[in-house]
């Protein structure tokens, strides 16, 4: 009997009604606005991120809607002018990168799952956690301010001197990205400390679920890289406001300096986005193939390797900007070194499927889709890391398609994770058929959209173009059709989730048969997460649970009934 159990038993019965969970234990606006509960903060992030994912997606559809016709130089296309189009793609990029994908898996799902996976009551710094959320809100409000002031047309990269000279509302959106950066730093810091300090003594580093390795690696990148973004964005604001001359050559500045600082953050930021997704992958693939992860330590170390190498490759964004040959060579070489740990992960995931018992539930469809999508995203990176081919492909649709295949890989894994933990978070099951259709349609639409873009990109179609050579029209039409299919797929997914909230069946504690600690508590979990301290086990030992046909869920096998684990298992 644990101490937590004893203290709970000592409380008056009225404080802990039977069946009460973190969603129902307290009511009213204040109980959410001032909550320190990691689960509620996670739910608030999740809600906000899903809403902004739809807004960002809407801007993407506006971009694609502007492009099926080539247009005539200097002329608008119906109601859409070049200026408006430039604002569409800028807002799509800025919202998706800074508001949605970067906080997506760590802040929304990580917040909910991380303490549960550690068997802990909360994160190390619950107040800082709430503050991170309010920094995120502040960033969102600033971004919306810029929208009200007429929008921004710089592209999400804010390259100088364009961003210092355009007369659109650059400062609010840059200040917003600055605030979102702080949110990200605090979240990373909180999670690193939580993993260090709240890990149960029996849970050694190599007994952690791989998602925690991924979140830990992500935290390192968040803490070390994001301040550099903060510095450069502040400098940009000051340059714009008072013309200090950091970037303006007329005042002795250097416009390319901005690109170095920007990518010093924004390339590692790609790993802030992809590493948590890779962590989620290791959880989904094992649970839905009932297989122990293959090559735990290779996967764990490859997360760390990606985080470390990720800091040393930013210059591959500047191969044609005037960087010296020596620097280009060094950055190209280090870029190839990131390919190795990424490949290791993919091969290990494949080996995890080998002789498994593969169950194509919605989260698994997203996970398998990620192997396809990240396969393409990763392999096309080779064309861009190679100097001679990058010169041709740089700033074309090839690059656009490449980073969408990587970042949307994260988005699809995010949705896989949302479906996977949804029963735990909301205590409701969702409609499996609707979930699968949403997953399939959005991924098929995605592939049509961006495979067409790879093709026109290698044929020489530059990015951020409102008018284009009519030669490229068929590719643009295909891409736009794909985008609408994808939009419809995501709409189904949203309907599936909302439908579940109102009509979903009650979820069992462990519907998928996971053995990480969050599945040892009720769905949804009680306010203090666990009634008794859960036992720490191998996170991928599926002999710990057995299927219960009555509940269509899994039960943990009581210790006394369990057969001894076969020798040589580890």
């Amino acid at each position: 009997m644990s101490t937590l159990d004893a203290s709970a038993a000592a409380l008056p019965a009225a404080d802990l009604p039977a069946g009460d969970n973190y969603l129902t234990c307290d009511r009213g606006f204040k109980s959410w606005a001032f909550t320190l509960d990691h689960k509620r903060i996670g739910v608030m992030y999740l809600t906000g991120i899903l809403i902004f994912f739809m807004i960002g997606g809407l801007f993407a559809l506006l971009v694609r809607t502007s492009l099926p016709v080539p247009g005539v130089a200097g002329q608008a296309k119906g109601p859409i002018t070049a200026e408006l189009y430039n604002k569409f793609f800028t807002l799509h990029g800025a919202i998706m990168v800074f508001i949605v994908i970067i906080p997506g898996i760590p802040a929304a799902l990580g917040n909910f799952v991380l303490p549960l996976m550690l068997g802990a009551k909360d994160v190390a710094f619950p107040r800082i956690n709430l503050m991170s959320f309010y920094f995120w809100c502040a960033g969102v409000v600033l971004a919306l301010t810029s929208l009200v002031l007429g929008g921004v047309d710089t592209g999400w990269t804010f390259y100088t001197p364009y961003s210092t000279t355009t007369n659109t509302a650059v400062i609010p959106v840059v200040a917003g990205a600055f605030m979102l950066g702080f949110s990200s730093i605090f979240t990373g810091l909180n999670f690193i400390v939580t993993i260090h300090k709240l890990r149960p003594p029996e849970m050694g580093w190599f007994k952690m679920p791989l998602l925690l390795w991924a979140i830990y690696s992500t935290g390192i990148v968040q803490i070390l890289a994001t301040p550099v973004l903060g510095i450069i964005l502040l400098l940009l604001i000051v340059e714009r406001a008072v013309g200090i001359g950091i970037f303006d050559p007329a005042l002795g500045g250097d416009p390319v300096l901005f690109q170095h600082f920007f990518w010093f953050y924004s390339h590692p930021a790609v790993y802030i986005m992809i590493l948590p997704a890779m962590g989620v992958m290791s959880e989904l693939l094992t649970v839905f193939s009932r297989r122990h992860i293959f090559g735990y330590s290779f996967i764990a170390y490859s997360s760390v390797a990606i985080a470390v190498f990720g800091f040393l490759v930013w210059g591959h964004h500047l191969f044609v900007s005037g960087q010296s040959n020596l620097l280009n060579t060094i950055f190209s070489a280090i870029t190839f070194s990131v390919a190795v740990p990424s490949a290791i992960k993919v091969f290990n995931w494949l080996a995890t499927l080998y002789k498994g018992s593969i169950n194509l539930k919605t989260p698994m469809i997203y996970a398998l889709g990620f192997i396809w999508i990240f396969g393409i995203g990763g392999l096309t990176g080779l064309f861009l890391g190679t100097l001679a081919t990058d010169v041709h492909l740089h700033d074309t649709y090839f690059v656009v398609a490449h980073f969408h295949f990587v970042m949307a890989g994260t988005i699809f894994t995010f949705f896989g994770a949302v479906h996977y933990w949804w029963p735990k978070i909301m205590g409701k099951m969702y409609n499996e058929a609707l979930g699968r259709w949403g997953a399939m349609l959005s991924m098929i639409g995605f592939n049509i959209t961006f495979l067409a873009q790879f093709w026109m990109g290698s044929l020489g179609m530059p990015r951020r173009y409102f008018h284009y050579d009519p030669f490229f029209q068929p590719y643009h039409v295909a891409s736009t059709i794909g985008a609408y299919i994808m939009g419809f797929g995501f709409l189904l997914t949203m309907i599936c989730l909302v439908h579940s909230l109102f009509r979903g069946k009650r979820a069992a504690a462990n519907p998928w048969g996971g053995v990480t600690l969050e599945w040892r508590t009720a769905s949804p979990p009680p306010h203090y997460n666990f009634d008794r301290t859960p036992p720490v086990t191998d996170p991928y030992d599926f002999n710990l649970v057995r299927y219960n046909a009555d509940t269509d869920a899994y039960d943990f096998i009581p210790a006394e009934e369990r057969v001894a684990v076969p020798a040589g298992h580890h």
Partner: protein, 353 residues
């Protein structure tokens, strides 16, 4: 013979028609990476689908057929083997890139002036032209400069691209090896007219580039005295010299200054901000229609009747006096004195009656 159509047939499925000496190298590396990637993609996805079908769960709760946790030799193998391919890609890309960056000593130099949203190519004889004309089979070096924001000079058919950055010169070089017409585009986002910032590239057959260059600017044939005579009464000058054995051929291509000014209006990018049909663009510059002779009031309260001197001043020093209600956004155009006077004549020709 339709050269463009002929060249189109050389286009491969993923790459545009190659028209420079390095295009073959770049395409070779591209397809090498493509086939390696295709192999691994088919391997990975093929195995994935095979496993999905072969090892699908048949009854709920069914267990796996193995719980193997790792195989270190196998994992080391699949970490190390792809590394050799990666080193090969890096090496090919590196060598190809050095060739792209090492400019031959005898390269023919053309200056490139980029600004929102026009390209101007300035040839060694001083003539500025909106099209890039180059001789076939001869190394050409572009020395590029931007007047405002970052642009990027990209010629897909030549597989070359280089950012054009304000405050520094950047250069790129190529040897076009196929006669024809191609497109040069801006690849670095530069605002509203980004996608309209393209130029025609013409690769001339051996020996004809010099002929084009000599006649690129018909005014180039006129002496200073003849130029003064031409400006004084253009039509009379054209009639008088059109059969002249020395300059007649050029004189026949001469236009009156207002028409020359109209050409400059397009070529120098004036048309990006000034209309000539009376439409006023509030965020940009005033329309030129009816501008000459109009009274303009400045932000400091003073005013002027628009005349030749005022227009010349506005072109030479755009920020000196700002018309009330307008912003100081006009870049300083690069125009010679001759060109400036042609623009002035053009604006005067748009005077209201």
């Amino acid at each position: 013979m339709n050269l463009t159509l002929l060249a189109q047939s050389d286009r491969t499925i993923f790459m545009p028609e190659p028209a420079s000496t390095i295009a073959g190298t770049v395409d070779g590396i591209f397809y090498f990476i493509f086939y390696v990637s295709l192999f691994f993609f088919v391997l990975i996805v093929g195995l994935m689908f095979f496993f999905i079908v072969r090892y699908r769960q048949r009854t709920p709760g069914e267990g796996p057929k193995t719980q193997i946790t790792h195989n270190t030799p196998l994992e080391i193998l699949w970490s190390v083997l792809p590394t050799f391919l990666l080193v090969a890609m890096f090496w090919l890309g590196f060598v190809g890139f050095l060739d792209m960056r090492t400019v031959p000593k005898d390269a023919y130099e053309i200056r490139v002036d980029a600004k929102k949203w026009t390209w101007e190519f300035i040839y060694p004889n001083g003539i500025g032209h909106p099209e890039l004309h180059v001789p076939v089979d001869r190394p050409v070096r572009l020395v590029m400069y931007s007047q405002d924001v970052i642009h990027s000079c990209y010629i897909p058919a030549f597989r070359v691209k280089r950012d054009v950055v304000p405050g520094r010169y950047s250069e790129l070089w190529f040897t076009a090896n196929k006669v024809g017409e191609y497109r040069l585009v801006c690849a670095e986002y530069c605002g509203e007219g980004h996608s309209d910032m393209f130029a025609k590239v013409v690769v001339h057959p051996a020996g004809t580039f010099e002929d084009w260059l000599a006649t690129a600017d018909p005014l180039s044939a006129l002496s200073d005295e003849q130029y003064v005579e031409f400006m004084a009464d253009p039509q009379a000058f054209i009639d008088k010299y059109k059969d002249d054995p020395e300059i007649g051929e050029n004189v026949q291509r001469l236009k009156v200054p207002a028409l020359l000014g109209k050409a400059l209006y397009e070529k120098k990018g004036c048309s990006q901000c000034h209309t000539i049909d009376g439409t006023d663009l509030p965020d940009k510059g005033p329309t030129w229609k009816g501008l000459f002779g109009k009274t303009e009031t400045f932000s400091d309260g003073s005013s002027v009747v628009v005349d030749r001197d005022y227009i010349a001043e506005s072109i030479r020093e755009p920020g000196k006096r700002i018309v009330a209600g307008r912003q100081n956004i006009m870049p300083k155009p690069r125009v010679s004195d001759r060109e400036l006077r042609q623009i002035v004549e053009f604006i005067k020709s748009l005077q209201s009656d």
